[in-house]
């Protein structure tokens, strides 16, 4: 019985790996093509994948646009916004789950309902505000709209709600302030939620297009997602170069995922907890 189950398990696993492989074929194709010359990519005859034979596409990447600069800009902005959003979400998650004050539930209801406000409603007035304040071409304009994350507050409120009140009371009896309790008890115990939120927030900021497109006009301050689109419009026939730039553009999010993946599902599980 056990060996039978084992064999069935391996067959199912193999089947799933085949499906998984089909799922990531677009990435494999992109990666292989990024090492192929243009003539090879657009060839109509021959195999499914072009023959990789050159690293020229990567060597020349700086020629067409300032790829490294944009990459570094995006890395800086996305990392900064992720750290800030995690911190504010954790503090507010703590406040909403463990502290009592008048209007708490109403305010939390407001936080939740902000998740359904379409970007289209707020973006025109925000664009006008930030432009009037002279914040175009500054990273302040990119960071400020992401200081609060309703999704993050929601996740942290759920997970911190699961931390026992006795633990917090005991710390208070020992004379610890709320700030101290937050940093030395709540934050370390929330590592799963931090992991889940880190993955999501980093990805959302890394792929954000419209807001940096509106706020940043200086080519050297631009972010990668916007630069990639411009690059594709301008050099639409240099497929090798486009494949190479796109391949590099997805690396940071994959790295962030690999760092945090162990706690990721657990983080979502406590977040959507029942």
């Amino acid at each position: 019985m056990n060996t039978k189950r084992n064999i069935a398990g391996w067959i199912l696993t193999a089947l799933l790996f085949v499906i998984a492989f089909i799922t990531i074929v677009p990435f494999i194709w992109m990666l292989i093509s990024s090492f192929a010359p243009n003539s090879e990519i657009v060839k109509v005859t021959g195999g499914l994948f072009p023959t990789p034979s050159t690293i020229e596409n990567y060597v020349n990447i700086q020629e067409k646009f300032n790829f490294m600069r944009l990459f570094a800009n995006s890395l800086f902005v996305a990392a900064l916004k992720t750290i800030i959003a995690i911190y504010t979400s954790a503090v507010l998650g703590f406040v909403f789950s463990k502290m009592h004050f008048r209007g708490r539930d109403l305010l939390f209801g407001v936080v939740m309902s902000t998740m359904m406000i379409p970007w289209a409603v707020t973006i025109i007035p925000q664009y006008e505000m930030f432009t009037n304040w002279g914040l175009q071409d500054t990273y302040t304009s990119l960071v400020v709209p992401g200081l609060i994350s309703a999704f993050g507050i929601f996740l942290f409120r759920q997970s911190i709600g699961g931390i026992s009140d006795e633990l917090i009371e005991a710390a208070k009896l020992d004379g610890a302030s709320d700030t101290r309790i937050f940093h030395s008890i709540i934050l370390p115990m929330s590592h799963n939620t931090i992991a889940a939120l880190a993955i999501f927030t980093f990805l959302w900021n890394w792929e954000d297009y419209l807001w940096p497109f509106l706020m940043i006009t200086d080519e050297n301050k631009q972010l990668l997602a916007v630069g990639l689109k411009a690059f594709n419009g301008q050099y639409g026939t240099d497929y090798g170069g486009l494949f190479a730039a796109t391949s590099l553009a997805i690396i940071p999010v994959i790295v962030v995922y690999m760092i945090f993946q162990k706690q990721f599902i657990a983080g979502i599980a406590t977040g959507s907890g029942k």
Partner: protein, 295 residues
């Protein structure tokens, strides 16, 4: 709130973590959400164009204009199809995969999960380009593998299905993860009882698993519909609304009106309609399911 021993002084009471955090939140919402929403409603009643510098009261003229505009209704219909079909397949594929991945006999779960999750964790601008090339009629992979001869993104019939296929591929992993989390929280004993009672796999799935995953499903449906109503990146990158108007969606239309034509007034009116539509849809979802334990 009980006072703590160390924060005895009045000053530290006023500047407690709670007060600072709540004040910050309220001020932030007032400045960056409440005011912009008010401004959007006000702007929708004005002829508002920042390039010409106009901001003149026109009453409901913008609404009259968009509601009689054929493109607006085409965009609404396209959005409904896009959001409905994408959400449906996201749920079905996500749940099927989550059930397979949570099966006890499957090995190498971490690697499998990582592979299946790859489309979801890669930036949308980047994968939109990858799929533009996938759909290319000359060297693209789709036509080559399937033997079809479809010019996907340049054919009014096929452009929307192409974008929907890409979106489902990109997004099913999100549903998988949420379902996996939901399955982790399922009570064991119910399943033991069911198997003692001789329930088969299909019965267990429809009578126990699916109902118990109701709140996961509801959460995925609501967040999917809300985010698909707002989707614009794949349309901007892959088709720019074309060919013709076949892939114009409401959010792409608003982007187009606001930041390509600078008709802020008309765009605000469209945004207000989208806002009301999203709100009503969310309310209906909660009412229909009779389930409010999400928050």
């Amino acid at each position: 709130m009980k006072n703590t021993k160390s924060s005895g002084s009045v000053l530290s009471k006023i500047f407690s973590l709670r007060n600072i955090a709540v004040t910050f939140l309220v001020v932030y919402f007032a400045v960056f959400l409440a005011y912009p929403i008010f401004k959007a409603f006000a702007g929708s009643l004005h002829d508002w164009n920042p390039l010409v510098g106009t901001y003149e009261w026109v009453g409901l003229a913008n609404f009259a204009q968009i509601l009689t505009d054929k493109l607006f209704w085409t965009s609404m219909l396209n959005t409904a199809i896009f959001a409905g079909v994408s959400t449906f397949f996201r749920i079905v594929l996500g749940l099927a995969l989550a059930l397979l991945l949570s099966s006890k006999i499957v090995k190498c779960k971490d690697s499998l999960r990582g592979l299946f999750y790859m489309p979801t964790i890669t930036p949308l601008v980047a994968v939109s380009f990858v799929w533009m090339w996938m759909f290319d009629p000359q060297f693209g992979m789709i036509d080559r593998v399937t033997g079809l001869n479809i010019n996907w993104l340049h054919d009014t019939k096929w452009a929307m299905p192409a974008i929907i296929i890409m979106t489902i591929w990109k997004d099913f992993g999100y549903a998988t993860v949420l379902y996996l989390a939901g399955i982790m929280n399922l009570p064991r004993d119910v399943y033991e009882a069911a198997s003692i009672d001789g329930a088969n796999g299909v019965q267990t799935f429809f009578k126990i698993t699916l109902p118990l995953l109701k709140s996961s499903t509801l959460f995925i449906v609501i967040t999917s519909l809300i985010s698909y109503l707002q989707a614009y990146v794949q349309f901007l990158v892959m088709t720019e609304g074309g060919p013709g108007t076949s892939t114009y969606t409401i959010s792409y239309l608003i982007f187009d009106q606001a930041f390509q034509k600078y008709n802020f007034g008309v765009a605000s009116a469209q945004a207000v309609v989208l806002f009301l539509f999203t709100g009503v849809l969310t309310l209906i979802m909660f009412k229909v399911s009779g389930d409010t334990d999400l928050s």
